[in-house]
Symmetry: D2
Subunit: 208 residues, 4 copies
């Protein structure tokens, strides 16, 4: 078995030219992945032309298919999202839609292509909405085939109202640090387990 692979889909509304608080938090997780010999890649979704729609490839320059190839190669998929009005971003919603639109594909056993992969989420915002965004994303991932390990919702939000974002606030929150660690290790633990002991193809084939 080679090294585990982790893919972060960062759904900030900003392209790579701008600093992303969500990416800063994702990088904390990557540091642990590095130490544990897990390969990781952070993809800034706003850099890609991702079409709206439910087909696996919407054509006309749709760049989702190349991202989907990365998803298929990953053992661990983490969605990163900022918060706006207490909700995950439009790009995070789009990512879930496209993952859903590609969920008809199967693995060699006939299970959904996302089986034996684990999912998680990192969220940042000035204030409020992290748990709601995490619940929505983790549910979406679970419903299409991912395993959700315990404590894989890592986030930072500030006190009610406008205020500094994660980076400006200093990245020092102990609760967030603790959950970075839990997310990193529990995704590794479960991904290893599922690599060694895949979910039996019984009662869970996509078509049966």
């Amino acid at each position: 078995m080679g090294a585990l692979k982790a893919l972060f889909l960062n759904a900030t509304l900003k392209s790579s030219e701008e600093e992303s608080n969500t990416e800063a938090l994702a990088k904390k997780v990557c540091q642990i992945y590095d130490n544990e010999n897990v390969e990781s890649e952070v993809v800034r979704l706003a850099d890609y032309a991702i079409s709206y729609g439910m087909d696996p490839d919407m054509g006309d320059g749709d760049e989702w298919p190349q991202l989907f190839e990365k998803v298929k190669e990953a053992d661990i998929l983490i969605i990163g999202t900022p918060l706006w009005l207490g909700e995950k971003s439009s790009i995070a919603t789009l990512a879930i839609e496209r993952l859903y639109g590609s969920s008809g594909e199967t693995n060699d056993e006939g299970q959904a292509v996302y089986y034996n992969k684990v999912g998680g989420v990192v969220v940042t915002g000035n204030e409020d909405g992290a748990k709601h965004a995490a619940a929505s994303i983790l549910y979406g991932l679970s419903h299409i085939g991912f395993v959700i390990p315990p404590n894989v919702d890592t986030y930072w939000v500030g006190e009610a109202g406008p205020g500094p974002s994660y980076i400006a606030a200093g990245q020092t929150n102990d609760f967030t640090k603790k959950h970075v660690e839990m997310l990193a290790y529990n995704t590794i633990h479960l991904a290893r387990m599922l690599n060694e002991h895949p979910i039996p193809a019984q009662g869970n084939l996509l078509e049966s």
Copy 2:
């Protein structure tokens, strides 16, 4: 027209023997109501024996009917809730269920009994979940007949993770103060408007 009446249903899990952060926030709104000659009452739901179920009166000592009388007399209904795991409390959920169970009653025009009343919400928590709880409660109220004025979701939450609650944190957050004012005045403004100009009984009768 007499004075407007505002009713707070405080859905803290704690009975009146204990201090409630949500009540402390509700009291800020009451101060403005006092100044504006709006009568207000805060009811601690945990002090009452409120049965589970969808009948207007579940019998066997169910104390919802006496609370429902208060709701019917109110021009303004504010649900107050703490946050647990990012969600409104079980008692807040129960309050919405019982309001829903009583929603078959009509006013003299044949509209749902909650027509021409306005709704709002106050939320407190150590951290995260206020907007999600507010959305759920305001939607529930709107769906059964209440008018939702702008900016009637007043809340306080602290930074991510464990930490002081609203009272211990000093009740000094400017964003929260601003929203106390908006909630208080907009509920008053809309309640007055609806008292003087009730929603015409056209296209909105419960049975038609």
Copy 3:
């Protein structure tokens, strides 16, 4: 006072070349608006190049500003959305983000520019998710300044699992018809009331 204006932002993932179930439901509301002398326009958001981001104008061909002009002229704003995995669409999320990003503008009284406008929502899906999507959208609109009248969440969803969409199912559901009527009339009633009796500029200025 001239005729009221209603604007539908249809957040289907499909451009105008394709049939939209959500638009079919919106059109039912428009029929009542026509009868009641309310001007209405349905905009297919997927036809526009709407940028991601929180500035009122993101530049580089961003077409949100022209849509925002329509919003400002409208008395009634209805967001229409399909459901995917039980959630409002990515384009609906984008619309709320852009409305939020434009919410710093004020009217002549110094209130948020959305004051004295009313909001509503129409939702269609093969199955499940309408109330959750409606709660999210109505909350977002309420939080930035819209008034939410009673019963302005009109939807159709089928039984659990795959199945026909709204148009294919025949558009005959009595519950949906009833709620089309309630949405149409209650948005008209409240919009008229707010036109004649705007919300007093007390306690609700954006900067104070």
Copy 4:
């Protein structure tokens, strides 16, 4: 290793004297558990005096502690809930609150007591709300230590509006049947895997 144990907490608002649609759906899962030699028990929460509050034992006749013993013995925990106004029931909210209040307890490794257990959800309603309720419950379970296998959100809802409930509708929906099977088998598969290969105590201790 003995037989796996599955515990259903049925959060219907009705006590055992009344028929529960949610229980009818839970029983479908139990049939598969029986065939696969998994012991199962369905507990009707409305039969118990479960106090409000966040202490593991609220005293004064609180019957949560005896239910918590059952949770600790279970390998699989399924929350069953009806839908009211598109939300999980007040009793389901209460169950999550009490599980959360008991989440400070640890296993022999120092992980949260719910580690190496798997969670799932069954939902029934006349119409709409299943995915939202499932997302909320599965998130809550995941956040306190449960593993969420793929496709463990089994539900039935009817078409928009009032209509027959799950039992009256005939219990014949193919989508629901398929998801009964996926829930049953995937909870078994993951529970077995975690029994044989517990999550390593690295990076996930409750106090560290």
